[in-house]
C-alpha cells in the first residue's frame, strides 16, 4: 500500500509487485466491460479462476459483478469442486450458468472410454462454443497465464476469435502499451486473459495475501489414489474403473491444478497450508502442467486446441 512519509509529501512509496499485477488486471477487466456488449467470466473452479473472480469483484466494487459466471461442466470434475463452486456462488450472490454438452453426454463421451483428447474436445471445447453461442456472449474472461505453456506465451491479452471461435495465431492484432482493442464484428468474440502476466507463484502469493479461498484439493490430505500411467489418479467416485491389480491406496497427496479427476495427477505432498504450498513450489523441480494428461497429447497440442476454440 503506498503512503506518503510524514513531513515529506513528494516521497511516495511505489506499488509492490502484486499490487502492480492487480492494477493491470483491474484495468483489463474494466476496459473489456466498457467495450463489449455481453461479457462472461469463465469459471473453472480452480485457483486461477478464484483469483480472477476476486479481481473482477474488486474491479467493479461497490457495484455487483456486472456479468455472470459460466462453468463448462464436463461432469467429471472432482466432487469437492462442485461443492466449492456452489458455496462461492452463494457467498458472493453471483449469477452462475452451468453448461454441459448434452449431445456429448448422450453419446456417453467420457475420459475413461474415449481418452483425454476426445473427451476434452467434446465436453470442453465444443461445449464452450455451444454455451457462448447460446447466450450470445461476445467477450469471455479466462484465467490463463502466459507462463503456463508456450503457445499461451504468444497470446494477446485480448484475443480475437472468428465466428467459428477459431484462434488464428498468425493474424493476431498488435497489442501495444495498455491499449486493448476489443472491437469486433457481429459474430466475432474476444477471449480476455487478465492474468496474462501472472506466474503460478504470483497466483499463490496473491491467494495468501488476499486470503482467497480455494478448493481443499490443493492442500495435502490422505486421499484414495491409484498409480496409473505414471500419474497418481484419485478415486473420486465409483465411475473410475479399476484395472486388474489396482487397489486404491490412501496417500497424502494434493493437486497443483484441477480438472477432470481421471485426467488430473496428484502429487505426494505434506503442504497443507498456502505458505507450505509456496515453499513447496519454490523447491519443486517440475511444472504445474505436468499433472495434466491433455497437455501430453502430442507436441503443440495446446496450440491446436486453442485454434479450435479451447480456452
Amino acid at each position: 500500500m503506498p503512503h506518503a512519509r510524514s513531513g515529506d509529501q513528494q516521497r511516495v512509496v511505489g506499488l509492490s509487485h502484486l499490487e502492480r499485477l492487480e492494477a493491470e488486471s483491474l484495468h483489463i477487466l474494466r476496459e473489456v466491460l466498457a467495450e463489449c456488449e455481453r461479457p462472461v467470466l469463465l469459471y473453472s473452479v480452480g485457483k486461477d479462476s478464484a483469483v480472477l473472480l476476486h479481481l473482477a469483484l474488486k474491479a467493479f466494487a461497490p457495484a455487483a459483478l456486472p456479468f455472470p459466471l459460466l462453468h463448462i461442466d464436463t461432469t467429471w470434475k472432482f466432487r469437492a469442486m462442485y461443492a466449492f463452486r456452489d458455496a462461492v456462488v452463494r457467498r458472493h450472490r453471483l449469477s452462475l450458468l452451468v453448461h454441459v454438452n448434452q449431445d456429448g453426454l448422450a453419446r456417453g463421451i467420457s475420459p475413461i472410454s474415449h481418452g483425454s483428447q476426445l473427451h476434452t474436445d467434446v465436453m470442453k471445447t465444443v461445449a464452450l462454443r455451444q454455451a457462448l453461442d447460446a447466450h450470445g456472449f461476445d467477450a469471455a474472461f479466462g484465467g490463463a497465464r502466459r507462463d503456463e505453456e508456450q503457445s499461451r506465451a504468444k497470446e494477446r491479452v485480448v484475443s480475437l476469435r472468428s465466428p467459428q471461435h477459431r484462434w488464428d495465431p498468425r493474424q493476431q492484432r498488435p497489442e501495444l502499451w495498455a491499449l486493448y482493442n476489443a472491437r469486433h464484428r457481429p459474430g466475432e468474440t474476444v477471449r480476455v486473459f487478465p492474468l496474462s502476466n501472472w506466474t503460478e507463484l504470483d497466483v499463490w502469493e496473491y491467494i495468501l495475501r488476499e486470503r482467497i479461498e480455494v478448493p481443499e484439493l490443493y492442500f495435502a490430505a490422505p486421499r484414495p489414489v491409484v498409480e496409473r500411467d505414471g500419474m497418481l489418479i484419485m478415486v473420486d467416485d465409483e465411475r473410475l474403473p479399476l484395472r486388474p491389480g489396482e487397489v486404491p491406496q490412501r496417500r497424502r497427496v494434493r493437486f497443483r491444478t484441477l480438472g477432470c479427476y481421471p485426467l488430473t495427477g496428484a502429487i505426494e505432498s505434506e503442504a497443507d497450508t498456502v505458505p507450505a504450498i509456496i515453499r513447496e513450489m519454490l523447491a519443486s523441480r517440475s511444472s504445474e502442467r505436468r499433472g495434466r494428461a491433455i497437455d501430453h497429447d502430442g507436441a503443440a497440442s495446446m496450440e491446436r486446441k486453442k485454434q479450435e476454440g479451447y480456452f
Binding site: H17, A23, R30, P174, L176, W177, L179, R304
Partner: protein, 628 residues
Amino acid sequence: MEVAPRPGETAPALQQTLRFLTCGSVDDGKSTLIGRLLYEANTLLEDQLATLERESRRLGSRAGELDFALLVDGLEAEREQGITIDVAYRFFATPRRRFIVADTPGHEQYTRNMVTGASTADLAVILVDARKGVLTQTRRHAYLARLLGIGAAVLAVNKMDLVGFSRATFERIRADFAAFGARIGLADISAIPVVATEGDNVCQRSARMSWYEGPPLLRLLEDAPLPDVAAAAPLRLPVQWVNRPHADFRGFAGQIARGTARPGDAVRILPGGRESRIARILGPDGELDLAVAPQSVTLTLASEVDVGRGDLIVAAESPAQVASQFEATLVWLHEEPLLQGRTYLMKLGTRTVAATVAPLKHKINVNTLEQLPAERLELNDVGVCELELDRAIAFEPYAVSRALGGFILIDRLSNGTVGAGLINFALRRSENVHWQALDVDRQLRARQKGQRACVLWLTGLSGAGKSTIANLVEKALAAQGRHTYLLDGDNVRHGLNKDLGFTAQDRVENIRRIAEVSRLMVDAGLIVLVSFISPFRSERRMARALFAPGEFFEVFVDTPLAEAERRDVKGLYRKARRGELKNFTGIDSPYEAPEAAEMRIDTTQLSAAAAAQQIVAFLEAHKVTLPP
C-alpha cells in the same frame, strides 16, 4: 522506490520488475539467448527440460544438443521453420529482481510484433551475429526501440566462438553500432560479447574472452535502472467506466497513468474543462487517502459534474493539453496501406475518436534515417503525418507519457489494429481557426426554398447509369421549384480535381474534396446530387460522417459488372481491358458495394426514368421536399 513486503509477498528486492525485449536480425540467436537465460537462471523445471531434450532431438538445430530457442518459439509454425513469428513473453527472476522478457521476431515481415514488444519494454537487448556485424534489421530494430521510448540498450555480439573470440571484431561492431546509436539518440549502450548456445558471458564471465572486463549480461540486466514511476508528476487519470451501483454513488474508475491523488485535491475534467474536488478514493482494498500511478482506483467527486468514459481527470493546477490536430509519428502495422485522407478510429488512453490522416508529411527510411516524400505507408513503414480528429482530446506528447501520447489506429470496417502512433505535438492551427458561427444558417436558407438540405450520394460502377439517373432527378426537382446542384465525377475532374489521378490515394482525396464541397452546399440549403463511382466503403463512410443523421442518403446504382461492360457507353471498359487505362474500377481496382445504402436501384429491372421517379418519391417520403 522502497516497498515493505506484506505477508505473503517475497523479499523487497523482488518487488522490482525490469521489462526488456530482445531484438535484432533473424538468426542472430535471440530466442536461444533467452532460453539460455531461463536455463541458467534456474527457471526451467525438470519436466520442461525433459520436453526440451525430446524436442531438441526431434526439431532442434543443434545436432541433438539442447536447442534453447525451442523454449520460446511456442507456435507450431515457428518450431517447424526454426524462426520466431510472434512476440512471446517469458518470466524469470533472480535473487535481485524480476524480469519480463519479450522475445520478438527478427524477420522484417513481422516487425509489427517487434513494435508490440517494444511498446512496454524499458530496455532492449539487441543481438548481432559477430560474423555479420550490424545489419539493416539491427538498425531498424534499434531505431524502432528508440522511437517507442526505450532509452537503454545492451548490444549483445553473439556467436563470438565463430569469429575465434576476436576482440577486434567485437570492437568494430561496437563502434559501428555506437555511431548509429548516436544518430538516433540512443546514448546508453552497453556492449557485451557472448556465445548464447554455450552461455559465455550470459550469466557468468567467460574464460574464453578474458579481454572483456565488463559484467555478464544477467548482471547488466540486474543493474539496469528502472523506469520512473511518475509519482511526482501531476495527476492523470483516464476514466474507463462510470460505476453507478445506486443513486448515492457515482464513481469514476480508471488506472492512474501519472501522479498521485488525495481526497480534497482540486481536479479538472478534460477535454470539457469543468472543475471539482476528489471526494473519496476507492482502491482495490477499500478507501484510500493516497493513490499513486499505476494503481487502478475509483474516484468520487465533491460536486455533480458530467464525466464519462474517455474523459481525463487531471490535477487542476497542472492540466494536460487539449487539441484536435496533431503531428504524430506512425508505424504502419497492416498489409492494407495507410492512405492520406482516410478516416480511422484512434484509441488513446480510454478515448476512441475518428482521426483523418491529412496530410502525410514524409516517411522515414529507417536505414539511412532519410525523410522521403510519401502518399501512403505500407506494412512496417514509419512516417510522420498530421492527424485531424473529429473532436478535441486531452493528451501528453509521447516523450512525456507513453500512456497519454501513444495511440492505435483501428480500421473501421475490420476493427483490426492497423497502426500505432506517437503524438509529437499539437498543431496550434486548430486552436486559431474557429468555425465561424453565422446568424443565417442552413435551416433558414433551406426553409426559404421549401426544402430540407441534404446530399443524395449515387455510387456504382462506371457506366452503371448514375449520371443519367441523377440528371433526371435534378430535372424533376427543378420542375418542382427546388434548388439543387449536381456534382458529377467527370465534370469535377475537369476543374477542382484535375490534379488527381486514379490511384487509391487520389481516389480518397477526390472523394474527400467532393464531400467537403457537398457539405458547404448543404450548408447553403441545397439538395446536392453527387454522382461519383466512389468505390471504397471507407470514403463513403467518411463523407457520411460529415453530415448530420438524415442529411446523407446513399443510393447504390446497382449494375452488374458484366452489364456495365456490355453497355460501355464511353468505351472505357474496352480501353481498360486493353490495358490502356490503369486502376479502372471493376477491372483492376475494386468496387466495394454498399452494405447499408438508403436506396438500391437495380438497373437491370428498372429504367432510368422509373429509377428517377422512385428517388423523387423517396425524397418526399423523407420530408426533404416539403409540399409548397
